[in-house]
């Protein structure tokens, strides 16, 4: 229980339900909250609805905003009116970086967001350079976005989000299809970003390292939510929901 003034949660999802256009339910009443500055992992088997859930967090879904108020960002429900504001606040990193790279050069792509926020001229250039430096791609402004490696592309997309100074970062499988070095670099990069983070992933080792809390999703419902080590270390729970205990927790000494 918090003492004093109750802080507004960065993201709050209340009983979110969603079905695809052919009627198949994807989410059946999902509820959880993420406090500002927290890093929460969203785990579950394939088809659990993780990606669908993430698309609701910045208003991409439902396609026609229904004003049901199921998702709240910093206390305000997502409605048709504040849709664009929400997208500025909550930055979504898609699983496939190629889906997200819109511009021919790296510099232009990172500038895409801030330009919409009204930045221009030298200020824009500085913001882009700073964002690229944060992700370890300093000087890449003139490079062609489409000839980079997958890991580099993903970092360009992340730079694009950082350049908009999004308060909440939502990441869909950020380490998928990366080689071990790419994975390590991305993990340490994510650890260094102070924004509120929600990470949907199969990479349970990363969840243990980065996320203080975890939400387990299966068949469109939250089956468990709580401390990472406690939940991911529960072998029965993991196996029941198509996951397994991460190695880093298997070899923990009982006195750790």
């Amino acid at each position: 229980m918090r003492a004093g003034v109750a802080a507004v949660n960065a993201v709050e999802v209340r009983d979110l339900a969603f079905a695809y256009s052919d009627g198949t339910p994807a989410l059946r009443g999902v509820s959880f909250a993420v406090a500002e500055g927290e890093c929460v992992g969203i785990v579950g088997p394939n088809g659990a609805g993780k990606s669908t859930l993430l698309l609701h967090l910045n208003g991409v879904l439902p396609e026609a905003p229904d004003g049901s108020g199921a998702v709240h960002v910093f206390g305000a429900p997502i409605t048709k009116e504040n849709l664009y504001e929400v997208r500025r606040t909550v930055g979504l990193l898609f699983q496939d970086p190629d889906d997200q790279l819109l511009c021919p050069t790296v510099g232009e792509d990172v500038a895409f967001g801030p330009r919409q926020l009204g930045l221009g001229g030298p200020e824009l250039g500085a913001r882009v350079a700073a964002a690229l430096a944060r992700v370890g791609l300093a000087g890449f402004e003139a490079r062609s976005a489409h000839h980079l490696s997958r890991g580099e592309k993903r970092r360009v997309c992340l730079a694009g989000l950082l350049a908009c100074e999004s308060r909440v970062l939502v990441l869909d499988e950020p380490t998928s299809e990366l080689d071990p070095r790419g994975r390590r670099e991305l993990k340490s990069l994510l650890a260094s970003i102070p924004a509120t983070k929600l990470i949907a992933t199969h990479d349970l080792e990363m969840v243990v390292e980065l996320c203080s809390r975890v939400v387990v999703l299966d068949r469109g419902q939250v089956v468990a939510a709580g401390e990472t080590v406690a939940l991911l270390g529960d072998e029965a729970l993991m196996l029941a929901h198509g996951l397994e205990r991460p190695h880093v927790l298997r070899h923990r000494h009982p006195h750790d």
Partner: protein
């Protein structure tokens, strides 16, 4: 999305579905051709056709609501074009005829399409001596339609996600960019498909 994607009806089981594709194709063609030559004095034929189509719909287990919705989707176009006929002597009769003929032909085609699988259609075309290059391209196209629709949807969502204002969301430049990316991906996928086809023994 303009198209009713749901090819699912072609996989239903019914006496109509079980009929050979060539018979259904001939029947559809017969309906369409008779509609094309129908004149106002032929109205009994129209009524008979309507009754037959209703019977086939019932036997095929295709939901009547689905059929009606697909018909309604095209009706505006039909009505607009038919309206041009009104500026002629005898225009009103012609207007009614055009709408009736068009609707019945469309109903027949919808029934055909939803009771026949595309693979059967391709087989029929092959037997009609359609060139093999065209057949191969048709088969590949159909196979990849649903894949590309998914890709287009993901591109769209990513773009919408990065649009902070209505003007950015509506910008033609970015929609066209999406289309361009779709083509680039298609060509890359085509290379992979070529390799896969060769690996499975395809000879052009």
């Amino acid at each position: 999305m303009r198209h009713g994607f749901l090819d699912r009806h072609s996989r239903l089981q019914s006496p109509i579905h079980a009929l050979p594709a060539w018979s259904k194709a001939l029947a559809t063609l017969a309906v369409v051709v008779s509609m094309a030559v129908a004149s106002p004095s032929w109205w009994p034929v129209l009524v008979v056709a309507a009754v037959l189509l209703a019977a086939v719909t019932w036997q095929s287990r295709i939901p009547a609501g689905f059929l009606l919705r697909r018909l309604l989707l095209v009706e505006p176009v039909v009505v607009i074009v038919a309206t041009l006929a009104l500026w002629q002597p005898g225009g009103r009769t012609l207007f009614a005829m055009l709408v009736a003929r068009s609707t019945l032909s469309l109903a027949a085609l919808i029934l055909f399409v939803n009771t026949t699988r595309f693979s059967e259609v391709l087989d029929l075309l092959r037997r009609c001596r359609v060139p093999s290059l065209l057949l191969t391209v048709l088969a590949l196209m159909y196979r990849c339609v649903f894949v590309l629709v998914d890709e287009a949807e993901r591109l769209q969502r990513a773009r919408v996600s990065r649009s902070f204002s209505p003007s950015a969301a509506r910008s033609w430049r970015w929609v066209a960019f999406q289309a361009g990316q779709l083509f680039v991906r298609s060509s890359e996928r085509a290379e992979r498909i070529y390799a896969a086809m060769c690996a499975r023994g395809w000879r052009p």
